[in-house]
Amino acid sequence: MADLELKSEDETKLRNRRNLAIALGLVAFVVLIFVVTILRLGGAVADRPL
């Protein structure tokens, strides 16, 4: 039931910072996968039959 506890102001602040770090990490991972995809495709992306 830890989630239902009333948090002190400091604890809330730290939790928000943890959440922000997770969000930024997630965005960074998405960007990384996108960049890897583009780099691996390279110029070959234009070679597919249209």
Binding site: K7, E11, L14, R17, R18, L20, F29, L32, I33, R40
Partner: protein, 302 residues
Amino acid sequence: MSEIAIPTKSASIAGPRDYFDLLKPRVMSLVIFTAFVGMVAAPGAVHPGLAAISLFAIAVGAGASGALNMWWDADIDAVMSRTARRPIPAGLVPRAEAAAFGGFLSALSVALLALSSNYVAAGLLAFTIFFYVVIYSIWLKRLTPQNIVIGGAAGALPPVVGWAAITGTAPLEAWILFAIIFLWTPPHFWALALFKEGDYARAGVPMMPVVKGAASTRRQIFAYSIVLALSGVAPFFVGMAGGLYLAAALGLGAWFIVAAWRVLKAAADDKKPAIDLFKFSILYLFALFAVIPAERWLGLHG
């Protein structure tokens, strides 16, 4: 309602920095460096962006294994002065969260490396994490004084992973870089254990000085330092490095042997030679490995 508000050991007092500390940033920096040298030494070229992302994946994998090591070793970290302030023994991060964090990042780093390079490199990274966490941390560390000798393989693998990330293979040259770090590990850690012996004894970790005594450990350090100095010149003889490297390997190797000799001949209560050797061992590996890319940038080799 008041009993519900009893503070539990939730993650409520940990900041992002504490999770970053779980990744053992200083160990990670050495892994990044040695993996980078493996990438530079490997023949062939990949897109620099992909190489950078591969290096990042290797770094995250190393960090993940550090977090899993801290999860498993939280009990002994708490009683050792060197490690008592790590996030778990300090009460900042709950053990289970370190396990989840490390396990999650392990999977992510291996998957990312598979995408950015190839399956050989990703497989080697997965094996490195497995070896460090399961073979070293869980199995050997508390079992045998050969713990860090065998466990050293995990720390020695990053240049092989880096090499494989470029070529998709792991040839003899890559394993020579492995051998140098592998042979470097025992004198490096035993020098540390010589002046932190009380820590390890208190924690019940069977480090060599605890089990066989300081005198035996000093002899073994000296023996390893000779073999290390010899292996240090091997990259020159397989054509992986040039004359500048050979000179550096000879000079640094001789210095290493002298430092180990001082440890061997020191008075029983004199810890300074061991501290000096420990510090020099870090410089040794950095300097020796730095010459390999330096030669290429200066146009002296490859």
